[in-house]
Symmetry: C2
Subunit: 334 residues, 2 copies
């Protein structure tokens, strides 16, 4: 049985999405066990109307709530009875628990996980790795997407190692094609950080390095993993998501502007539904934090139950795919 903690409080649709997402994961994965942390009474109220395998859940009472503006360090110091901190402390103490899924404050999750769960042997800094769908039907991982705004070249090298093992264990990509996010395709492009990172990636035998990737290539599907510093990785994923979202909005607005367009859209309803579904990040789970001793998945703040279930599945696959052991076998040498 793989035990995963679900932090039930934090996120726009909490705690319903978190609890129902947990139950959905129970249905989808036969050997998963879910531990819900949060206000026990509220969790029980939500569970009351649902059917599920009672042998495979546990509720851990955590009455405190984390505010939007609270500093990560304050959360760790002062909110020990919050659903996130209760979960993190259990994960730290109990070796039978594999991971934690949270849709709460990113800063608090990163800080708590790094300080209290600890890093894998040899790992300099944990990094976020969300995935996006590509136009040829696959996905592409982006590592780091914002955990580290200041990076050194050896950190980028490790992002490539961790991200590659993640794409292997969770998405079954045999030999992930790694690209370095840069302002041009040629090896000598970019600032000193990227020139140095290019050399390290090229020389590392644990990575299938395929050269620099320009931002406009992201969705084409020519790379399985993009390595970047957290600042430009954040810009990369947010601008891509933003552009897709704004285009969908424009399309919708335009369709409703004329009767003829509305008629046309009726013929194409299935197609638009498919495209909307394709771009719905809820279907792709959360952003995993790579490099910590236990599996941590950060779901989007607006995650619904499907997204939460996907996050649990990601954590499950990382654990069963022995992703952390594989990373440590590389980073932990010497």
């Amino acid at each position: 049985m793989i035990k995963i903690i679900v932090d039930c409080f934090g996120g726009d649709k909490s705690p319903e999405a978190q609890i129902k997402g947990g139950l959905l994961a129970l249905k989808n994965i036969p050997d998963v066990f879910v531990i819900f942390t949060g206000d026990e009474k509220i969790i029980k109220d939500v569970l009351a109307g649902e059917e599920y395998d009672k042998e495979r859940i546990e509720i851990v009472h955590a009455p405190e709530v984390i505010g939007c503006d609270e500093k990560p360090t304050d959360v760790i110091r002062l909110k020990k009875e919050s659903s996130l901190m209760k979960g993190i402390m259990m994960l730290r103490r109990d070796d039978s628990i594999s991971g934690l899924v949270s849709t709460g404050s990113t800063g608090a999750i990163v800080t708590a996980a790094t300080l209290l769960i600890g890093r894998l042997r040899g790992v300099i800094r944990p990094a976020f790795c969300p995935v996006l769908p590509t136009m040829n039907g696959g996905v592409v991982g982006i590592c780091d997407s914002g955990a580290n705004v200041d990076c050194k070249a050896d950190m980028l090298e490790q992002f490539a190692i961790m991200g590659s093992e993640y794409m292997k264990s969770t998405y079954g990509v045999e030999k992930p094609r790694v690209g370095l996010l840069n302002i041009g395709a040629e090896a000598e492009k970019g600032d000193d950080l990227h020139k140095e990172a290019y050399k390290l990636l090229e020389a590392n035998e644990n990575i299938n390095f395929c050269g620099n990737m320009e931002a406009r290539e992201l969705l084409k599907g020519n790379f399985d993993l993009v390595v970047c510093d957290g600042f430009s990785g954040n810009v990369l994923i947010k601008s891509t998501e933003g552009a897709c979202l704004e285009m969908l909005k424009m399309l919708k607005k335009d369709i409703f502007s004329k009767t003829m367009y509305k008629i046309g859209a009726l013929f194409m309803k299935k197609m638009f539904d498919k495209e909307k579904e394709f771009m719905n990040y809820q279907n792709y789970g959360g952003s995993v934090l790579l490099g910590t001793c236990k599996v941590i998945v950060k779901g989007h703040g607006s995650s619904n139950e499907v997204a939460v279930a996907k996050c649990i599945e990601q954590a499950y696959k990382m654990e069963t795919g022995k992703m952390n052991e594989r990373v440590e076998a590389i980073t932990g040498r010497e």
Copy 2:
């Protein structure tokens, strides 16, 4: 008469697009004079079939061609007879000429302009400022989009000053709303560079600073100018363009996959045409280089004649709007 040089060689559709774009600008703007640089015979051949005001053009023979892989410094040293270098040298010597439009090598243009044309008084580094259309019908400038991969906070402050004056002079935006590209909206987000830049921008009275902007906001139209280091600015614009392009491709592919969708699309043809036109960068001209003593506009390598004419119009507006004088009035103090 405003004299603008058009570098006719460089770009996928050169020299036809450059020459015909020049003639189109003559038609659109009554007091523009165009100087074509490049192989005289070829230019005359293209002009032979066209009707235009012969009093408002000049051809300057430049027989050498710049290769794709040539280093910018080699171009300056060795290709003095190329269409770009001939143009740059004329611009340097002749005060009656206002600016230059080129669709050639970005690196060569930046290097030649910086070294041979020189910077405005007080300007630390010139920066690129392309614009993108926003969903509420306006445009947003992005400065710097790639000329400077390593930036200091005072450079970002100047990008805001130059970009603001550009949006005023060329797009008639009265009080450009300036955003700082960052990984979160709060003032304390980002690395040291962005925290320091935030403070400088906030304190500068020449700028209408509206706080940090997350990458996903770019197309919404809440900002008129985004200030960023050249690396993340490059990622921002290329990922946005890339995502829009890939979505259009997906839409097209999906429409052709079923007869019913094709029928629906017939009802919506005008709508799709409008959207394609909206996202066609050819309509928005080139990326201007801000901070040099003369106006320099770098058009996209695949510019057609409409795009080239737009670039000329941009150069014209920057000159007639006295953009450089206005920038120098701020940067040149002391």
